[in-house]
Protein backbone atom coordinates (compact mmCIF):
# COMPACT_ATOMS: atom_id res chain seq x y z
CA UNK A 1 0.00 0.00 0.00
CA UNK A 2 1.62 3.24 -1.11
CA UNK A 3 0.73 6.00 1.31
CA UNK A 4 2.67 8.76 -0.26
CA UNK A 5 4.29 9.27 -3.60
CA UNK A 6 6.08 12.46 -4.55
CA UNK A 7 4.95 13.91 -7.82
CA UNK A 8 1.47 12.44 -7.49
CA UNK A 9 -0.83 14.16 -9.93
CA UNK A 10 -3.62 14.68 -7.45
CA UNK A 11 -4.80 18.26 -7.51
CA UNK A 12 -4.70 20.20 -4.28
CA UNK A 13 -8.29 20.71 -3.20
CA UNK A 14 -9.37 23.99 -1.72
CA UNK A 15 -9.82 23.77 2.02
CA UNK A 16 -11.13 26.61 4.12
CA UNK A 17 -10.34 27.37 7.74
CA UNK A 18 -13.15 25.15 9.02
CA UNK A 19 -11.81 22.16 7.08
CA UNK A 20 -8.32 22.77 8.40
CA UNK A 21 -9.57 23.17 11.95
CA UNK A 22 -11.46 19.88 11.70
CA UNK A 23 -8.38 18.11 10.35
CA UNK A 24 -6.09 19.62 12.98
CA UNK A 25 -8.33 18.54 15.86
CA UNK A 26 -9.08 15.11 14.40
CA UNK A 27 -5.40 14.47 13.70
CA UNK A 28 -4.46 15.12 17.29
CA UNK A 29 -7.43 13.12 18.66
CA UNK A 30 -8.47 10.49 16.12
CA UNK A 31 -10.67 8.73 18.70
CA UNK A 32 -13.17 11.60 18.73
CA UNK A 33 -16.66 10.85 17.49
CA UNK A 34 -18.03 13.09 14.77
CA UNK A 35 -20.29 14.81 17.32
CA UNK A 36 -17.37 15.56 19.67
CA UNK A 37 -15.21 16.67 16.77
CA UNK A 38 -17.93 19.09 15.66
CA UNK A 39 -18.28 20.48 19.16
CA UNK A 40 -14.52 21.04 19.48
CA UNK A 41 -14.40 22.77 16.13
CA UNK A 42 -17.40 24.92 17.04
CA UNK A 43 -19.61 23.78 14.17
CA UNK A 44 -22.81 21.75 14.02
CA UNK A 45 -22.52 17.96 13.70
CA UNK A 46 -24.30 18.23 10.36
CA UNK A 47 -21.72 20.65 9.00
CA UNK A 48 -18.80 18.64 10.35
CA UNK A 49 -20.27 15.49 8.79
CA UNK A 50 -20.61 17.19 5.42
CA UNK A 51 -17.06 18.56 5.52
CA UNK A 52 -15.57 15.21 6.53
CA UNK A 53 -17.56 13.43 3.80
CA UNK A 54 -16.33 15.95 1.24
CA UNK A 55 -12.70 15.46 2.29
CA UNK A 56 -13.10 11.69 2.25
CA UNK A 57 -14.56 11.83 -1.22
CA UNK A 58 -11.69 13.99 -2.44
CA UNK A 59 -9.23 11.51 -0.96
CA UNK A 60 -7.75 14.01 1.49
CA UNK A 61 -8.91 11.80 4.37
CA UNK A 62 -7.98 8.26 3.38
CA UNK A 63 -9.20 6.55 6.52
CA UNK A 64 -8.11 5.60 9.98
CA UNK A 65 -5.69 2.91 10.99
CA UNK A 66 -5.15 1.24 14.35
CA UNK A 67 -1.68 1.82 15.79
CA UNK A 68 -0.13 -1.44 16.91
CA UNK A 69 2.44 -1.20 19.69
CA UNK A 70 4.91 -3.93 18.74
CA UNK A 71 6.67 -3.63 22.08
CA UNK A 72 3.52 -4.84 23.78
CA UNK A 73 3.79 -7.94 21.58
CA UNK A 74 7.38 -8.52 22.63
CA UNK A 75 9.12 -6.88 19.66
CA UNK A 76 11.45 -4.65 21.62
CA UNK A 77 14.21 -4.28 19.03
CA UNK A 78 13.76 -1.82 16.13
CA UNK A 79 16.39 -1.15 13.49
CA UNK A 80 16.52 1.17 10.48
CA UNK A 81 18.42 -0.53 7.69
CA UNK A 82 19.71 1.91 5.11
CA UNK A 83 20.44 0.08 1.90
CA UNK A 84 22.35 1.10 -1.20
CA UNK A 85 21.57 -1.07 -4.22
CA UNK A 86 23.72 -2.17 -7.11
CA UNK A 87 22.01 -0.05 -9.76
CA UNK A 88 23.91 -1.73 -12.60
CA UNK A 89 21.40 -4.56 -12.22
CA UNK A 90 18.35 -3.75 -14.33
CA UNK A 91 15.73 -4.92 -11.85
CA UNK A 92 17.63 -4.03 -8.69
CA UNK A 93 14.77 -2.09 -7.03
CA UNK A 94 11.95 -4.45 -8.07
CA UNK A 95 13.79 -7.60 -7.00
CA UNK A 96 14.99 -6.13 -3.72
CA UNK A 97 11.56 -4.71 -2.79
CA UNK A 98 9.80 -7.94 -3.67
CA UNK A 99 12.16 -9.85 -1.39
CA UNK A 100 11.80 -7.30 1.43
CA UNK A 101 7.98 -7.50 1.30
CA UNK A 102 8.19 -11.21 2.01
CA UNK A 103 9.89 -10.66 5.39
CA UNK A 104 7.17 -10.34 8.07
CA UNK A 105 9.42 -8.40 10.47
CA UNK A 106 9.83 -5.58 7.91
CA UNK A 107 7.14 -3.07 8.89
CA UNK A 108 8.07 -0.13 6.63
CA UNK A 109 9.77 0.20 3.26
CA UNK A 110 10.77 3.59 1.88
CA UNK A 111 12.65 4.52 -1.28
CA UNK A 112 14.69 7.70 -1.54
CA UNK A 113 16.47 10.17 -3.70
CA UNK A 114 19.82 10.57 -1.99
CA UNK A 115 22.76 8.54 -0.80
CA UNK A 116 20.44 5.86 0.56
CA UNK A 117 18.23 3.99 -1.93
CA UNK A 118 15.92 2.06 0.38
CA UNK A 119 15.17 2.03 4.09
CA UNK A 120 13.72 -1.01 5.83
CA UNK A 121 12.25 -0.77 9.30
CA UNK A 122 12.84 -4.13 10.96
CA UNK A 123 11.51 -5.26 14.33
CA UNK A 124 12.63 -8.26 16.38
CA UNK A 125 12.01 -9.86 19.75
CA UNK A 126 15.60 -9.54 20.95
CA UNK A 127 19.10 -9.16 19.58
CA UNK A 128 19.44 -12.88 18.89
CA UNK A 129 16.23 -12.84 16.90
CA UNK A 130 17.39 -9.70 15.08
CA UNK A 131 20.69 -11.30 14.17
CA UNK A 132 18.85 -14.30 12.78
CA UNK A 133 16.57 -12.10 10.60
CA UNK A 134 19.53 -10.00 9.49
CA UNK A 135 21.70 -12.93 8.46
CA UNK A 136 19.10 -15.26 7.04
CA UNK A 137 16.58 -12.88 5.47
CA UNK A 138 18.14 -9.44 4.94
CA UNK A 139 21.67 -10.21 3.78
CA UNK A 140 20.29 -12.75 1.32
CA UNK A 141 18.15 -10.09 -0.46
CA UNK A 142 19.30 -9.44 -4.03
CA UNK A 143 21.41 -6.52 -5.37
CA UNK A 144 22.64 -5.07 -2.05
CA UNK A 145 25.75 -2.93 -2.57
CA UNK A 146 25.96 -1.56 0.96
CA UNK A 147 23.94 -1.65 4.14
CA UNK A 148 24.08 0.47 7.30
CA UNK A 149 22.05 0.07 10.44
CA UNK A 150 20.71 2.51 12.98
CA UNK A 151 19.32 0.87 16.07
CA UNK A 152 16.50 2.74 17.81
CA UNK A 153 17.34 3.57 21.42
CA UNK A 154 14.34 5.79 22.14
CA UNK A 155 11.44 7.07 20.16
CA UNK A 156 11.40 10.71 21.24
CA UNK A 157 8.55 11.90 19.06
CA UNK A 158 6.19 10.01 16.79
CA UNK A 159 3.43 12.21 15.59
CA UNK A 160 2.70 11.83 11.96
CA UNK A 161 0.40 14.81 12.06
CA UNK A 162 0.79 17.35 9.28
CA UNK A 163 1.51 20.95 10.32
CA UNK A 164 -1.82 22.21 8.94
Amino acid sequence: MVLFAAGSKMAEIMLDNTDRRLLRIWQSEPELSLADLAERAGVTALKAGRRVAKMEEAGVIQGQEAVIDWRALGYVVAVSLRVTLDKTAARAFEDFLEGARAIPEVTEIQTFLGRVDVRLHVIARDLGHYQQIYRQRILTLPHIADIESLMTLTEVKRDEALPL
Partner: protein, 151 residues
Protein backbone atom coordinates in the same frame (compact mmCIF):
# COMPACT_ATOMS: atom_id res chain seq x y z
CA UNK B 1 3.13 -10.89 27.70
CA UNK B 2 -0.14 -11.31 25.81
CA UNK B 3 -0.53 -14.35 23.57
CA UNK B 4 -2.35 -13.96 20.26
CA UNK B 5 -4.37 -16.60 18.50
CA UNK B 6 -5.15 -16.61 14.78
CA UNK B 7 -8.38 -14.63 15.26
CA UNK B 8 -6.53 -11.91 17.22
CA UNK B 9 -4.02 -11.65 14.39
CA UNK B 10 -6.73 -11.27 11.79
CA UNK B 11 -8.48 -8.73 14.00
CA UNK B 12 -5.28 -6.66 14.24
CA UNK B 13 -4.82 -6.81 10.47
CA UNK B 14 -8.40 -5.64 9.90
CA UNK B 15 -8.11 -2.74 12.35
CA UNK B 16 -4.69 -1.71 11.02
CA UNK B 17 -6.35 -1.35 7.63
CA UNK B 18 -9.49 0.35 8.96
CA UNK B 19 -9.71 1.39 12.59
CA UNK B 20 -13.19 2.84 12.10
CA UNK B 21 -14.68 -0.57 11.33
CA UNK B 22 -17.80 -1.09 13.53
CA UNK B 23 -17.44 -4.09 15.89
CA UNK B 24 -20.47 -5.76 14.32
CA UNK B 25 -18.80 -5.71 10.90
CA UNK B 26 -15.45 -6.72 12.42
CA UNK B 27 -17.18 -9.68 14.09
CA UNK B 28 -18.89 -10.67 10.85
CA UNK B 29 -15.53 -10.76 9.03
CA UNK B 30 -13.97 -12.88 11.76
CA UNK B 31 -16.97 -15.14 12.27
CA UNK B 32 -17.64 -13.78 15.77
CA UNK B 33 -20.64 -12.22 17.44
CA UNK B 34 -20.43 -8.48 18.10
CA UNK B 35 -19.87 -8.93 21.89
CA UNK B 36 -17.15 -11.52 21.23
CA UNK B 37 -15.37 -9.18 18.80
CA UNK B 38 -15.72 -6.33 21.27
CA UNK B 39 -14.21 -8.44 24.10
CA UNK B 40 -11.18 -9.22 21.95
CA UNK B 41 -10.69 -5.57 21.02
CA UNK B 42 -10.97 -4.61 24.68
CA UNK B 43 -8.39 -7.21 25.70
CA UNK B 44 -5.92 -6.04 23.04
CA UNK B 45 -6.46 -2.44 24.05
CA UNK B 46 -5.90 -3.21 27.74
CA UNK B 47 -2.71 -5.10 26.91
CA UNK B 48 -1.46 -1.99 25.08
CA UNK B 49 -1.27 -3.78 21.73
CA UNK B 50 -3.93 -1.55 20.22
CA UNK B 51 -2.38 1.80 21.04
CA UNK B 52 -4.84 4.24 19.55
CA UNK B 53 -5.64 5.36 16.05
CA UNK B 54 -4.09 7.45 13.36
CA UNK B 55 -5.87 9.50 10.75
CA UNK B 56 -4.53 8.72 7.30
CA UNK B 57 -4.31 11.93 5.27
CA UNK B 58 -3.06 12.51 1.74
CA UNK B 59 -0.09 14.77 2.45
CA UNK B 60 0.31 15.66 -1.23
CA UNK B 61 -3.31 16.75 -1.61
CA UNK B 62 -2.92 18.95 1.48
CA UNK B 63 0.05 20.71 -0.07
CA UNK B 64 2.85 18.81 1.64
CA UNK B 65 4.75 17.55 -1.37
CA UNK B 66 8.08 16.75 0.25
CA UNK B 67 9.11 14.36 3.02
CA UNK B 68 12.76 14.12 3.99
CA UNK B 69 14.49 11.64 6.28
CA UNK B 70 17.36 13.33 8.09
CA UNK B 71 20.26 11.73 9.87
CA UNK B 72 21.68 14.08 12.49
CA UNK B 73 25.02 13.77 14.18
CA UNK B 74 25.65 15.88 17.22
CA UNK B 75 28.88 17.83 17.39
CA UNK B 76 31.04 17.55 20.51
CA UNK B 77 28.67 15.12 22.21
CA UNK B 78 29.99 15.69 25.69
CA UNK B 79 29.01 19.36 25.49
CA UNK B 80 25.45 18.77 24.37
CA UNK B 81 22.55 18.15 26.63
CA UNK B 82 20.56 15.42 24.88
CA UNK B 83 17.35 16.40 26.65
CA UNK B 84 17.70 20.00 25.43
CA UNK B 85 18.22 18.86 21.87
CA UNK B 86 15.29 16.44 22.04
CA UNK B 87 12.97 19.07 23.46
CA UNK B 88 13.94 21.66 20.86
CA UNK B 89 13.74 19.33 17.87
CA UNK B 90 10.41 17.85 19.00
CA UNK B 91 8.90 21.34 19.16
CA UNK B 92 9.36 21.86 15.41
CA UNK B 93 5.96 21.24 13.80
CA UNK B 94 7.40 19.99 10.52
CA UNK B 95 9.36 17.30 12.37
CA UNK B 96 7.06 14.27 12.55
CA UNK B 97 9.42 11.75 14.02
CA UNK B 98 12.47 11.88 16.26
CA UNK B 99 14.40 8.76 17.19
CA UNK B 100 17.54 8.59 19.28
CA UNK B 101 19.59 5.95 17.45
CA UNK B 102 22.82 4.04 17.74
CA UNK B 103 24.99 3.98 14.63
CA UNK B 104 26.36 6.41 12.08
CA UNK B 105 23.99 9.14 13.33
CA UNK B 106 22.68 10.11 16.73
CA UNK B 107 19.16 11.04 15.70
CA UNK B 108 16.83 10.11 12.91
CA UNK B 109 14.20 12.67 11.89
CA UNK B 110 11.27 12.64 9.52
CA UNK B 111 10.48 16.11 8.21
CA UNK B 112 7.52 17.17 6.10
CA UNK B 113 7.47 20.34 3.99
CA UNK B 114 5.45 21.99 1.23
CA UNK B 115 8.26 21.77 -1.33
CA UNK B 116 12.05 21.70 -1.46
CA UNK B 117 12.23 25.47 -0.91
CA UNK B 118 10.10 25.14 2.21
CA UNK B 119 12.26 22.21 3.36
CA UNK B 120 15.39 24.31 2.93
CA UNK B 121 13.83 27.03 5.08
CA UNK B 122 12.97 24.53 7.86
CA UNK B 123 16.43 23.01 7.62
CA UNK B 124 18.34 26.29 7.76
CA UNK B 125 16.21 28.25 10.19
CA UNK B 126 14.95 25.55 12.53
CA UNK B 127 17.10 22.45 12.39
CA UNK B 128 20.61 23.73 11.70
CA UNK B 129 20.19 26.27 14.48
CA UNK B 130 19.44 23.60 17.11
CA UNK B 131 21.95 23.28 19.92
CA UNK B 132 24.74 20.84 19.12
CA UNK B 133 23.87 19.91 15.53
CA UNK B 134 26.85 18.59 13.61
CA UNK B 135 26.76 16.59 10.38
CA UNK B 136 23.45 16.07 8.58
CA UNK B 137 22.38 13.71 5.84
CA UNK B 138 19.16 14.24 3.92
CA UNK B 139 17.33 11.66 1.82
CA UNK B 140 14.19 12.74 -0.03
CA UNK B 141 11.32 10.25 0.21
CA UNK B 142 10.09 8.92 -3.13
CA UNK B 143 7.69 6.19 -2.03
CA UNK B 144 6.55 4.51 1.13
CA UNK B 145 4.85 1.24 2.03
CA UNK B 146 3.55 0.24 5.44
CA UNK B 147 3.59 -3.50 5.88
CA UNK B 148 1.27 -5.45 8.22
CA UNK B 149 4.20 -6.70 10.32
CA UNK B 150 4.62 -10.10 12.01
CA UNK B 151 0.95 -10.81 12.78
Amino acid sequence: MIELDEIDRRLLRELAADAALPTAELGRRLGLSQPAAWRRVKRLREAGVLAGRRLRLDAGALGFGVTVFLGVKLAAKSQVNLADFERAVSAIREVQLVEHVLGLYDFRLRVVARDLGDFERVLRRRIMTLPGVGALEANVLLSEERRPGPI
